[in-house]
């Protein structure tokens, strides 16, 4: 399967992690778009063809919960995988109300993130049919 047609949006205020994600996803053949904050992510989602989102939960200004809430106002379908550095139960409970495809903890292996990504895409495809 050619992953290059799949465009993954990575939203994280942390430059290093964003780049690592980009490096890793590209190594798996995906196309990657990066956003450093929620506002940029929303603009990108409105204007570009994106297939799946990795969204950091903890960001200054507009956090993951707020960003996802805004995304869901105009895009109910796109699969969103939440990224978090640690288990923040409060925010996780909040964010789960906006339909997420999983949580990828930053400390976990990339493989786990990949599994989440693949299952999210599969689920999305099935729903579309």
């Amino acid at each position: 399967m050619d992953n290059s047609t799949i465009n993954v949006l990575v939203v994280d205020d942390e430059t290093d992690f964003r780049q690592l994600m980009s490096f890793w996803l590209k190594s798996k053949g995906y196309s990657v778009t990066l956003a450093q904050d929620g506002e940029t992510a929303i603009q990108l989602l409105k204007n570009e063809k994106l297939d799946v989102v990795f969204l950091d939960l903890n960001m200054p200004a507009m956090d993951g919960v707020h960003t996802l809430k805004k995304i869901r106002e105009f895009n109910k379908d796109i699969p969103v995988i939440v990224i978090s550095a640690y288990v923040d139960r409060l925010k996780l409970t909040e964010v789960k109300a906006y339909d997420i495809s999983g949580v990828f903890y930053k400390g976990e292996e990339f493989e786990k993130g990949l599994a989440l990504l693949e299952s999210a895409l599969r689920m999305h495809k099935r729903l579309k049919k």
Binding site: E14, D16, F17, L20, F23, W24, S27, A85, Y86, V87, R89, K106, G107, E109, F110
Partner: protein
């Protein structure tokens, strides 16, 4: 001269002689008698008419003996006079004796009074001294009686509780204090001798945290007669504790971010995503990766500890299989176990029901216990993880047993304490933060279970914990 006359004359002479002697003693006695006594005596004699009656009686008696009325009258006068004086003397003497007795009693009493007064002054001085001590101590001191009424309260206590002593003495401790937490102070149960009370100051609405250490006062028969409480303001201490915990938490979070960056970069290089890696490079990068993992575990421990101290450690329960949680924990440690050539065996009772647990947290407990077993078991040793329905008391019992170096008996009670490390020096590859077990204990207890250890130096260690089925 008739024999009767002689007899009478002899009698009179002897009476006169006696009278003279009596007169002599009377004179000396009279000198001592005071005017008031004399007055009493006179009044007594007159009021009772002794002189008259006596004279009549004697006259009557003598008149039977002689016909001469004049003679009879003379004798009876003389005799009654003598008798009167004799009575007079007796009365005086008795009065004197009584007075002496009375004086000695008075003296005795006044001596007693003086002693009592001295004692009273001494007690008063001691009381003042005690009061001065009590009032000058910085800690608040409140003494209540068995009914909970305030008996004594020092200035520090007044200040801490925001009440006035005058309003409180003899009244129930809680009267006029709204804070319901104070109820706990008055109703301190005997088992708990220290408790913390939160109060809101009436003046500036700031919160105050007091620590009350109380002791029950008992009389000789062991009856509770009251309670003494020492109050200290620990608001600042608490604030510092909170700041420390939040500092540790934020630093740990901050530390995680760069660690994740390093870990992810290493893993990408090691997975050869970024191109080929030579054998030497791979070896060195693996060392870097291993040490990074240790650092991460350490930081996670610190973060847990700060949560624990701040009382923010939470568990999120869900029905979960014990077998599964054991398998997952073992899986995470498989590489380490293999690298030390250890046998890891599982003995899981079949048909164990699911338990209501936080799988992440129980995995953490098991990882810690199995990890310790790996650390302290020499090569080719065996680690056994068992799970059973226990003794049918509604608990699942999980055991992690090793054939390692064991723990000395005297160290067993300390093992769940914070920062405790077995032995003084451990090789660096088996050192840790020393908080893993205290965290494990906290997690098990949050689940309503118990954890304990059985060990003998040289014969391995067995950690056992229970989880309630419901």
């Amino acid at each position: 001269m008739s024999s009767l006359t002689i007899y009478i004359i002899t009698a009179i002479v002897s009476i006169i002689t006696a009278l003279l002697l009596v007169q002599l003693t009377r004179l000396s006695a009279q000198a001592k008698i005071k005017a008031d006594e004399k007055a009493i005596r006179d009044a007594y004699l007159t009021s009772h008419g002794i002189d008259e009656d006596l004279n009549q009686t004697i006259y009557k008696e003598i008149s039977e003996l002689t016909d001469s009325e004049e003679f009879c009258r003379g004798i009876s006068n003389k005799v009654s006079g003598i008798l009167s004086r004799e009575i007079d003397k007796r009365v005086t003497q008795t009065a004197l004796e009584l007075r002496k007795k009375y004086e000695s009693i008075i003296e005795e009493k006044s001596q007693d009074k003086e002693i009592a007064w001295k004692k009273y002054n001494k007690v008063l001085a001691e009381k003042k001294e005690t009061e001065a001590v009590i009032h000058s101590i910085a800690e608040g001191l409140v003494v209540v009686d068995a009914a909970g009424n305030v008996v004594m309260m020092n200035e520090a206590a007044e200040k801490l509780l925001g009440v006035s002593k005058i309003d409180k003495i003899g009244r129930p401790m809680l009267e006029g204090i709204k804070e319901e937490q104070l109820v706990s102070l008055a109703k301190n149960s005997p088992g708990e001798d220290t408790k913390e009370i939160e109060l809101v100051s009436q003046e500036n609405e700031t919160k105050k945290i007091l620590r009350a250490s109380s002791a029950v006062i008992e009389d000789e028969d062991g009856q509770t007669v009251g309670m003494v409480s020492v109050l200290s303001d620990i608001t600042k201490q608490r604030e510092l504790d909170r700041m420390k915990s939040s500092f540790v938490a934020s630093v740990s979070h901050e530390l995680r971010t760069p660690l994740i960056g390093i870990q992810k970069s290493l893993s990408l290089i090691l997975s050869k995503t970024a191109g080929d890696v030579s054998e030497n490079q791979e070896q060195l990068l693996s060392i870097a990766d291993r040490n990074l993992q240790r650092l991460t575990l350490l930081i996670n421990d610190l973060l847990d500890l700060s949560k624990l101290e701040a009382g923010r450690m939470e568990i999120k329960r869900e029905p979960y299989s014990v077998e599964k949680v054991i398998a997952e924990s073992i899986e995470g440690l498989a590489t380490w176990v293999k690298s030390k050539s250890l046998n890891l065996e599982k003995e899981i009772e079949s048909g164990l029901p699911e338990v209501n647990i936080d799988p992440n947290r129980i995995t953490q407990v098991l990882t810690n216990l199995i990890g310790n077993a790996v650390k302290f078991t020499p090569q080719n040793g065996t680690i056994t993880v068992k799970a059973s329905s226990g003794r049918g008391d509604g608990h699942v019992q999980v055991t992690v047993q090793d054939t390692g170096i064991g723990i000395e008996k005297e160290n067993l009670p300390k093992i769940f304490g914070k920062f405790y490390q077995v032995g003084e020096r451990t090789p660096t590859d088996i050192s840790g933060t020393g908080i893993g077990l205290s965290i494990a204990k906290e997690i098990v207890e949050l689940h309503g279970g118990k954890i304990w250890v059985e060990s003998e130096k040289g014969f391995g260690t067995r950690f056992i914990f229970t989880l309630p089925l419901r």
